[in-house]
């Protein structure tokens, strides 16, 4: 298995080199042919051995990407193809043997205390559909060689989560303390004692207002949250990048200051290439407007072709999607299909087109309710976070 894992990773990098020419800007840009992202098959890590291997690109045992078209068209991404990004190795099966016994401590409230999941479940119930998207989604579309998984589109999925509203818990415990400006969640991984906690702990602070929509989720798409996705209990902060949705959540604190963990202070900060991370740079919090086509990819037959994909606005509803088949020279409005699961979920869009044989550069451009338009290109940032530009999210399609 070792050898094959290695070979696969190399193949993946080799496959990422395809280029095509975009019309609109006249610039030659890299477009990643969908074929470079065929599933790599086999060798799923044991904690995720129930995933569909055909649908997953295995970057490392902590980073498993969903193949571009495997997210499907029914809005919700099924658990067996949902991407995985764990910052640390997941805990053992023991944590889900008695899910209701899982304990969470609440701090920064009038009456701080520890509650079991069983107890929490008596306080309230809420269901929310939200996208989970890794901060690094699209890293593989940047030219600079940033470390971390070279995700393309597949470090994102949309799921329906059920759980306990954080505001109900805060209310039960007498409300958050005066001066609290952040909600800080800590993962329950057992950390090695030899290491300074801040260097390794998965702990994230988000602005306090995110609490309004946040839930402590115990169910994902109708199933108890799998360990691979943060079960028994995961903090879900709708509209926020994956890292803020802390898995195996052990502590929730309402704090005046942001966490002192490295992944808050210097990690997940957007900055120019070559610069170190620092607290004064923007943190990976709420997501930006983005869309991409999932069909057709590669090759299709001439005549009537349905072009479809997904679009979202982060914390704003997505209002419009345009599709181009000529690399952004001309655009046509697509229609949304399927149910609107709320502003944090993505919408599936479709545009019927009549395509003659030839080569096409197919891409999409979303606009949210605030008028924010998906960017044409994403400027490089040091850690290669969230490539949302429609230029490189385009696919080269040959119509025969």
């Amino acid at each position: 298995m070792n050898m094959s894992t290695r070979i696969r990773r190399r193949h993946f990098l080799v496959g990422a080199g395809g280029t095509a020419v975009l019309g609109a800007s006249g610039a030659s840009v890299a477009i990643l042919p969908a074929i470079a992202q065929d599933a790599q098959g086999g060798s799923l890590p044991s904690y995720a051995d129930w995933k569909n291997p055909e649908a997953m690109v295995i970057h490392t045992e902590l980073t498993l990407e969903t193949v571009r078209d495997a997210i499907g068209t029914s809005v919700v991404t099924s658990n067996d193809v949902f991407f995985i990004r764990n910052n640390l190795n997941p805990p053992s099966e023991e944590v889900v043997q008695d899910r209701d016994a899982w304990e969470v401590s609440f701090e920064g409230v009038a009456n701080p205390r520890t509650m079991t999941l069983g107890e929490l479940k008596t306080l309230g119930l809420e269901t929310v559909a939200t996208i989970i998207q890794c901060s690094g989604n699209g890293r593989g579309l940047f030219d600079h060689d940033a470390s971390g998984a070279p995700w393309r589109t597949g470090a994102a999925g949309c799921a329906v989560w059920s759980g306990v509203p954080v505001r109900a818990v805060a209310e039960e415990l007498g409300g958050s303390v005066d001066g609290a400006r952040f909600m800080t969640s800590t993962g329950g991984e057992e950390l090695p004692e030899e290491v300074n906690r801040d260097e390794i702990v998965v702990e994230r602070s988000v602005p306090l207002e995110a609490m309004e929509n946040a839930i402590l989720a115990f169910e994902m798409n109708g199933a108890p949250v799998p360990i691979a996705h943060g079960g028994p209990l995961r903090m879900i902060v709708p509209g926020y990048y994956g890292i803020n949705n802390v898995k195996y959540v052990r502590t929730v604190a309402f704090t005046e200051e942001e966490s002192t963990a490295d992944i808050q202070v210097s990690g997940y900060r957007v900055r120019p290439v070559g610069e170190s991370g620092a607290p004064d740079q923007p943190s990976m919090w709420d997501m930006k407007v983005k869309s991409w086509v999932i069909h057709p990819l590669m090759e299709t037959t001439s005549g009537r072709v349905l072009i479809y994909g997904v679009a979202f606005g982060g914390t704003n509803p997505v209002e419009r999607v345009e599709v181009s088949t000529d690399g952004g020279e001309t655009w046509e409005d697509a229609e949304f299909t399927g149910p609107d699961l709320g502003r944090f979920a993505w919408r599936v869009f479709v545009l019927p087109a009549e395509l003659e044989p030839g080569d096409y550069t197919v891409t999409s451009r979303a606009t949210d309710s605030q008028g924010n338009v998906q960017e044409q290109t994403t400027e490089p940032n040091h850690r290669a976070y969230d490539y949302a530009g429609w230029d490189r999210l385009a696919v080269g399609v040959t119509v025969v």
């Binding site: 045992e61 640390l88 190795n89 470390s147 971390g148 030899e194 290491v195 390794i200 850690r383």
Partner: protein, 116 residues
């Protein structure tokens, strides 16, 4: 043979490294002195030491919080990038190890990971 290597490791590292260099054809450009330096960096110089978080059989490291390096079998380049950057929750060593030490530990890990 691999078992023998690990038995010997603690006492006569230089001999063992010679064996390794011989048997695996070792990584290009990395000589024995460099690999030995890399081994020292892995075990002690790096702060915190790699084995606190990672498993690497050759170093008798059994950390479980981070990916198992024997299964991962990273290239020297991948190790170098990881140490410079500190991906995700891994600490960066860019400020605490010299370039020479980083190169050495990268070559060392690439040479021994998964080899047993």
């Amino acid at each position: 043979m691999p078992y023998l290597v690990s038995m010997l490791t603690a006492r006569v590292p230089v001999v063992v490294l010679a064996l390794f260099t011989f048997s695996t054809g070792a990584a290009g450009g990395a000589d024995e002195a460099m690999l030995e330096l890399g081994r020292q960096v892995f075990l002690t110089t790096a702060e915190p030491p790699c084995g606190v978080c990672h498993t690497l059989a050759n170093a008798e490291a059994t950390g479980t919080i981070a990916p198992n390096l024997d299964t991962m079998r990273p290239t020297a380049e991948e190790v170098r990038n990881a140490l410079m950057e500190g991906p995700g929750a891994m600490p960066s060593y860019a400020d605490t190890l010299s370039d020479e030490e980083i190169d050495a530990v990268a070559e060392h890990v690439a040479a021994v990971a998964g080899a047993e």
